[in-house]
């Protein structure tokens, strides 16, 4: 029963956050909406025995990512009040229909059975423990884990490359391919 109440409350929080995010005229409010949704998510993760992920969710997402977002919003520092009137013809209608349709179709598709896979090879004892995650991450998933190095390097190099391009650099490139 408690479970239901908790789920209900945080589901409402998550949805409300999402609604705020996609409707708020001020991007800061949007960020706040997303933040609350993420917190609600973390709660769900805990409820689903994914404690480590929940922690990461708070630390990385709510902590780092959202901060970054807010920072950028502040930095660009404009459009405090976004005009929410739609300028693209049919866009609103399409959005509404498509989003609603997507939700309805997904839900309808899963109404019989959301899980059809088998857990024949499952490791139920270990669910929810950080050890299990670690075991997996540094065992089976080592390669995947290592592969993130590419992502991170790119993130670093890419940011540098974009940042290096200052106003002075605008002028010095007059064409693309040289001889």
């Amino acid at each position: 029963m408690v479970e239901i109440v908790v789920f209900g409350v945080f589901a409402l929080v998550a949805l409300a956050g999402a609604v705020v995010m996609i409707t708020a005229k001020n991007p800061v409010y949007s960020a706040m909406g997303l933040l609350s949704t993420m917190f609600a998510m973390a709660i769900f993760y805990v409820m689903l025995d994914a404690h480590f992920v929940a922690a990461i969710q708070i630390l990385v997402y709510a902590g780092a990512v959202m901060t970054l977002f807010l920072f950028v919003i502040m930095m660009i520092g404009v459009d405090k009040q976004e005009d929410t009137a739609e300028s693209i013809p049919f866009q609103r209608g399409i959005t509404f229909v498509v989003a609603l349709g997507l939700a309805v179709v997904i839900i309808l598709a899963g109404r019989q059975a959301w899980i059809t896979g088998s857990d024949a090879f499952g490791t139920p004892d270990m669910v929810g423990t950080i050890e299990a995650v670690a075991d997996s991450l540094f065992g089976n998933w080592t390669i995947a884990f290592l592969s993130t190095v590419f992502l991170l390097t790119i993130a670093a190099v890419g940011t540098v490359a974009l940042a290096l391009f200052g106003p002075t650099a605008v002028r010095d490139i007059d064409g693309e391919e040289g001889t």
Partner: protein, 624 residues
């Protein structure tokens, strides 16, 4: 010797090629004499080979080489009395006209080209005559058409000459189409075009209906070449060519090819009475029609042209009556006297500095005695005055018509009427041209032609006078001669005995009437009668048949072609093609609108697309 039969074709052909390629080196008059020699030689060659027929020699087929063997059309030649006779006429008259041309064409800038064409004609005509299958005959048939085209439009700088040449070729082609279809039918029936097989197996392989169809189509071809109704219109225009051409091609030889062809296919025509009737009727009507037109013509060559049409009508009538020998007989005599008439006319025109209007001549009798004398013989011959050549041949035809009886009596009547008209207009021609006042234009200095021109006239005059004696009712020399060619063919003959004499007398009587009327009208008065309005106008314009064809066939045809080309082809057929392209492009352009440039609408497409994809998958996968 017979193995070298092909030389009859090859020699003039060689001459033609030589003159085309190296003509300039020959110069004038060597080219003319060279060309003439290459016709004279075949003449004597043919003569040498023809003589044995008198002794009753067998017909022979000479295989030269294989041409289109799969349709049974090979280059193989037939030497029988009929082809021999035709060969002699063609080379003989041809040689004379060549010689005549040496003088006549003097000074023409394309002198050698003229003779090369003339030689080409002789070669083509010999091909036509000597062919032993319909295929090769058709070759000659078309090639004479080519020569005719080239020679009619010889003076191509004159638009009328060029147009006349084209007209001749095109109208002939209409006839050729009939010939061609006939050949298809023959091939379908016999599997070959070979004369020997076709004629000998005709009775077994053909039904009467088929024979009728084939022969009628053959006759369409003949009507084109021999200028019968309704395809005669090209012949008068063909007078645009030099006069020797008119004499050789459009009087003596080529135009008789139709008659020759019908005679050649006697075995087929014999099987088809309906065709006989049609052919004979068309011939008779053509004879009459052309004669009535000839009366009203003022141009000396056009008179002769219509006269030719008329005489061809006689011949066609003859072969239609199955009086093949009579047809060929008239063909032969006509070749002599009509060639003579044309050459004579040419001589006159030559003398009058290319004036052709008879109304501007007159009184030439004394200035050009030889021309006058020879032409007078021809006049008597064509009019059918005893004992000149035309009398015998024409009477045989009329006799045959009478002999067939029944409906053919009408044709006989027409023939007789035509004979009277012929006598009338020929007399008129002679009188206006040679008698009476001098009505020359200023600057005309008539003179007698040089000997190269007069000698052929004299020779022809001799033949015009006496050739008829070869086939008189008492001594059927020609008929006997031609017998092997018409072996097994039942021919129509004139009645015998008293009837024959009566008929001859009737003929002579109407001729006399015709001549007398002409004399009354033109010979007795100082002033020529004014011939304007009414009938004269109609006759002068040949009853506006040309205009009629122009309005009914040529103009609508052109309109249809223009519509097809400029509207249907460009707008409809091509319009559909271009329309498809336009549709494709406009589809692309309209799709372009969706590429708005707004990233959010791209996103909408992606999300909507995914919705579509999963919907399809779920529906198809049976998840709903």
């Amino acid at each position: 010797m017979i193995d070298y039969l092909w030389l009859l074709i090859a020699i003039p052909l060689l001459g033609s090629l030589t003159l085309i390629l190296f003509g300039r080196r020959f110069g004038e008059p060597a080219a003319g004499w060279f060309a003439s020699a290459l016709v004279v030689i075949p003449f004597f060659f043919a003569l040498a080979m023809a003589l044995p027929f008198i002794g009753g020699a067998e017909s022979e087929t000479v295989y030269v080489f294989s041409w289109i063997p799969m349709v049974g059309a090979n280059a193989s030649l037939l030497w029988d009395p009929l082809s021999a006779l035709m060969s002699l006429i063609v080379t003989g008259v041809g040689a004379l006209i060549h010689i005549y041309s040496v003088g006549y064409m003097h000074g023409d800038e394309r002198y050698t080209r003229f003779f090369s064409y003339m030689n080409l004609f002789i070669a083509s005509m010999m091909t036509l005559v000597l062919a032993d299958n319909f295929g090769l005959m058709f070759v000659g048939w078309e090639l004479v058409g080519l020569s005719s085209y080239l020679l009619i439009s010889f003076w191509f700088s004159k638009p009328s000459a060029a147009a006349a040449g084209k007209k001749a070729f095109v109208v002939n082609r209409i006839g050729d189409w009939g010939f061609l279809v006939a050949l298809m039918m023959i091939f379908a029936a016999f599997g070959t075009l070979d004369f020997g097989i076709v004629f000998s197996e005709a009775h077994g392989a053909l039904t009467v209906g088929m024979a009728t169809a084939i022969t009628l189509l053959l006759f369409v071809g003949a009507a084109g070449k021999s200028a019968q109704i309704p395809l005669y219109i090209w012949l008068p225009d063909a007078m645009e060519g030099p006069t020797p051409v008119s004499a050789l091609i459009h009087a003596a030889t080529m135009v008789t090819a139709g008659v020759y062809m019908v005679a050649r296919a006697a075995a087929l025509f014999e099987m088809a009475p309906v065709s006989q009737g049609v052919v004979a009727t068309v011939g008779a009507l053509t004879a009459l029609l052309a004669a009535t037109i000839a009366i009203g013509q003022r141009d000396i060559k056009r008179v002769l042209a219509y006269s030719t049409v008329s005489q061809l009508g006689y011949m066609v009538m003859a072969v239609g009556l199955t009086a093949f020998t009579a047809g060929i007989f008239h063909l032969m005599t006509h070749a002599f006297f009509k060639a003579l008439l044309f050459l004579g006319a040419g001589s006159v025109i030559h003398a009058m500095s290319d004036e052709q209007d008879m109304w501007k001549m007159g009184g030439l009798r004394k200035i050009m005695p030889i021309t006058f004398g020879t032409m007078a013989i021809a006049w008597l011959a064509i009019s059918g005055v005893f004992p000149f050549a035309g009398f015998w041949s024409k009477d045989e035809i009329l006799g045959a018509a009478f002999g067939r009886g029944g409906g053919y009596l009408v044709l006989w009547a027409i023939g007789v009427l035509t004979a009277m008209l012929t006598a009338f207009y020929m007399t008129k021609l002679i009188i206006i041209t040679f008698f009476g006042e001098k009505r020359w234009d200023k600057g005309a200095h008539p003179h007698e032609s040089p000997f190269t021109m007069t000698i052929p006239l004299i020779v022809l005059a001799v033949f015009s006078a006496f050739a008829g004696l070869w086939n008189t009712p008492w001594r059927l020399g020609l008929e006997h001669f031609l017998e092997p060619a018409f072996e097994g063919v039942h021919q129509a003959h004139p009645p015998e005995g008293l009837a024959l004499w009566t008929l001859a007398l009737i003929s002579l009587a109407v001729v006399a009437v015709g001549m007398f009327v002409a004399y009354l009208r033109y010979g007795r008065r100082e002033e020529l009668p004014v011939e304007e309005g009414g009938y004269w106008n109609a006759a002068l314009n040949a009853y506006w048949v040309d205009d009629f064809y122009g309005k009914v066939i040529v103009l609508p045809g052109k309109a249809v072609a223009t519509w097809l080309a400029m509207f249907f082809d460009m707008k409809v057929v091509d319009g559909i093609v271009n329309g498809l392209a336009v549709v494709t492009r406009s589809f692309g352009s309209s799709m372009r609108v969706l590429q708005t440039g707004w990233v959010r609408s791209y996103g909408a497409a992606i999300v909507a697309g995914s919705l579509g994809v999963i919907l399809w998958l779920l529906l198809q996968g049976g998840a709903f």
